[in-house]
Symmetry: C2
Subunit: 433 residues, 2 copies
């Protein structure tokens, strides 16, 4: 009989049940590949009486997470409960007891990563978290291991499947945001309360994890600029298309000069020829540019029961091996080569600016005048042949400018009498070196 | 001072010099991330007097590979010499002495993988080979580690940058194969002797490594069907485009029923909407479909000094850690879940068939008649409005048929009086489940 490694599973929702199911389905394959058997010995759930889609023996279930900590035979704790508490307590207590931790909890890592990895370092216990960013796409492993010899110059990620589905449907079928969201909910690609997805924060949590890993310090949530997709209109998508762009919710992570990095998540126009523009539906993709490896891209399903369990199981396999072979890397290695985040005011970008203006001569000159005074260059102007009830659209593509410059510009343009509503600003990423 | 790990480097060509250069360039970053320093202590070259683009201290160089074996301080041997001998001897002798091996030698692994990993198993010495497939794209790590919990259902790879560059140029600029090859050579993307690239064998070596890793047994070179791109014409690319396809040199690896797999490399029509159709120029990409993770894709530069050294350095980092932590996985784990390769005669595919026929009525009926008798279904027919000197093209898209069926069909069609030359057959991959 092969050696068994005992696992405690906290959480039996969509992903937890998927891990249990797939460990069972591919049991023989995993034993052949690992030379040992991964066995779930306890499962923590909130409600012992709840009906479950995936069957597991009754005697595995408990409603006390402390049972995982107190069982000396459980060597690996898998935290898939979600939420901050008691997930944080469970993880910290498991580390103190020398139990290896596997988690997919992105919000928790983004908020408490420093605390968790300080404990991991102190107790020399690794914490694995491949499932915390982009589901089945092994981007954590890529950044941490495959590109260990690279300064990461930039990462550009489509890392929220719900937003990408909504934007894809808006692009393909000229739907409104509201209709596309409703469709996503009906198709099971958006939750009943989709707030954290559409306001950009789910993507921001993942971006924080990726940036922290790449740059060796924990990026505070307050340092990240986050804008959701709620205000993207069908018209913006249409005009962007005319200009040769697609609109995606993009996480942008870049190394700047002087050990400064930038981390931001916002709707972004990207050239339709760029490979990220072809990443549609619920799929995720992350383009990573390393100073040695050059451009790379990783693509796959970023959520869902099976893709996410694939990531958890790969962490479990590593954890099982780590039980016998001490590791030097506990999941995150802090270092001092980087250390600050550039504030959004100073971040330079290109922009798409759409204003609703009265349809008479001289308006463009007024708008262009304001931009000129603020030293902001215009790269192109289109006036789509469309009419709003009281105005016509005016779309300008803007050269590199800081966020502060653009905020001033938008303030001043909004005050023009010939401008009907505050102009809409969407950043543009052209992936130039 | 940080702990040093001493490395012996065999080969100081393009990749070997790149590894040396990039270890130096990113020395501080690597020390921060690894907590140790990777130091090249000896470099084996054939000709000590040769001028080199990358500078290294004279006293590191030796022309005897045995010097790496005999130096007890050298713990890791990096084999980047290429060729079968003395690379094989060096690797086997290093393993016997307990030195961890890193290699990028795809031909050697494809031919002698079994022998090398039997030795690795026997002496419990890991062998790393991320650089042996798709350069900077961490596909070995993905298949071995990230997808450890998956049965790999299929892999589809564009894994030869030279061929992809040539086919891309033929597609974009309607060039002939010969002109595109010449351009590739002038641009440094094809070697003076490009045989191994364009005949498909470089891709086949990588496919053998990937298939062996995914399915747990070493696939013999004689089991793999390999067809190069030499016979792809500008007309085929044009007609494929009209039908909504691109032509790529594709490595196709699939699990079949009854522990049987198929491994083949050949020019392939793929739907232009598939993401692999957008992989252009020298870039590589591998689509991996796992039973748990679903569809994924990995993209990046598959060759070149820097991308390949990124892969070697990531292996070096793992090797350095493995020196202190014993491993259970020595790079390749054989298992008995799969074991045979389906012969090409039995492999079912769709096909593009182009015949040069005399321009008169009844020819299509003759061709269709032969296919009908052989029970081969036609899904569509086009007669492009083009003329060859003595004939007109007739293009048929063929439903699923075995290679044996199609060989019979081509034989019989070739013998028709109204068919001027043996028809051209190119396989079609639609990525249906």
């Amino acid at each position: 009989m092969q050696q068994q490694v005992h696992i405690g599973l906290a959480g039996f929702g969509n992903v937890g049940a998927g891990v249990f199911k797939n460990l069972a389905n591919n049991r023989v394959l995993l034993m052949e590949r690992l030379g040992l058997e991964l066995v779930v010995k306890k499962i923590v759930v909130r409600d012992l009486k709840k009906k479950r889609d995936v069957a597991a023996p009754d005697n595995l279930f408990t409603s006390r997470w402390e049972d995982l900590i107190d069982d000396p035979n459980i060597k690996i704790v898998v935290e898939l409960m979600g939420g901050l508490e008691p997930a944080l307590q469970l993880i910290l207590r498991a580390i103190e007891r020398g139990k290896i931790v596997v988690t997919g909890n992105k919000a928790l890592l983004a908020e408490h990563g420093q605390e968790i990895f300080d404990a991991a370092q102190k107790y020399k216990v690794p914490v694995f978290f491949e499932a915390a960013a982009a589901g089945g796409v092994p981007i954590i492993k890529a950044v941490r291991e495959a590109f260990v010899g690279n300064h990461i110059l930039s990462m550009h990620g489509i890392i929220n499947g719900t937003c990408n589905y909504i934007l894809t449907r808006m692009t393909e079928s000229c739907m409104s945001f509201e209709d596309a969201l409703r469709e996503a909910q009906e198709a099971g690609f958006a939750e009943a309360d989709p707030t954290l997805d559409i306001n950009g924060w789910d993507a921001a949590h993942k971006a924080i994890i990726l940036a922290s890993l790449a740059y060796g310090f924990w990026v505070g949530t307050e340092k990240v600029y986050v804008e959701g997709i709620e205000k993207v209109t069908a018209a913006d998508i249409r005009f962007a298309k005319q200009l040769g762009y697609r609109i995606k919710l993009l996480a942008i992570i870049k190394a700047g000069p002087r050990s400064e990095i930038e981390v931001r998540v916002h709707p972004t126009l990207i050239p339709q020829s760029h490979v990220l523009a072809s990443v549609n539906g619920v799929f995720n993709a992350i383009a990573v540019n390393g100073d040695v490896v050059g451009e790379t891209l990783f693509y796959g399903r970023g959520a869902g029961q099976d893709p996410t369990s694939s990531a958890v199981i790969s962490d479990l396999a590593e954890a099982a091996v780590a039980l016998e072979s001490p590791r030097h890397n506990y999941g995150f290695t802090p270092h001092g080569l980087y250390g600050t985040c550039r504030p959004i005011e100073q971040i330079v970008s290109q922009y798409y600016l759409r204003a609703s203006v009265v349809d008479k001569p001289g308006v463009l000159a007024q708008v262009a005048g304001i931009l000129g005074e603020l030293n902001i260059g215009i790269s192109s102007v289109i006036q789509p042949e469309e009419h709003e009830p009281d105005a016509v659209p005016l779309v300008l593509m803007i050269h590199d400018a800081t966020n502060a410059q653009m905020r001033d510009a938008v303030d001043r343009i909004s005050k023009l009498e010939s401008v009907k509503r505050p102009p809409r600003l969407i950043r543009v990423e052209t992936f130039a070196a």
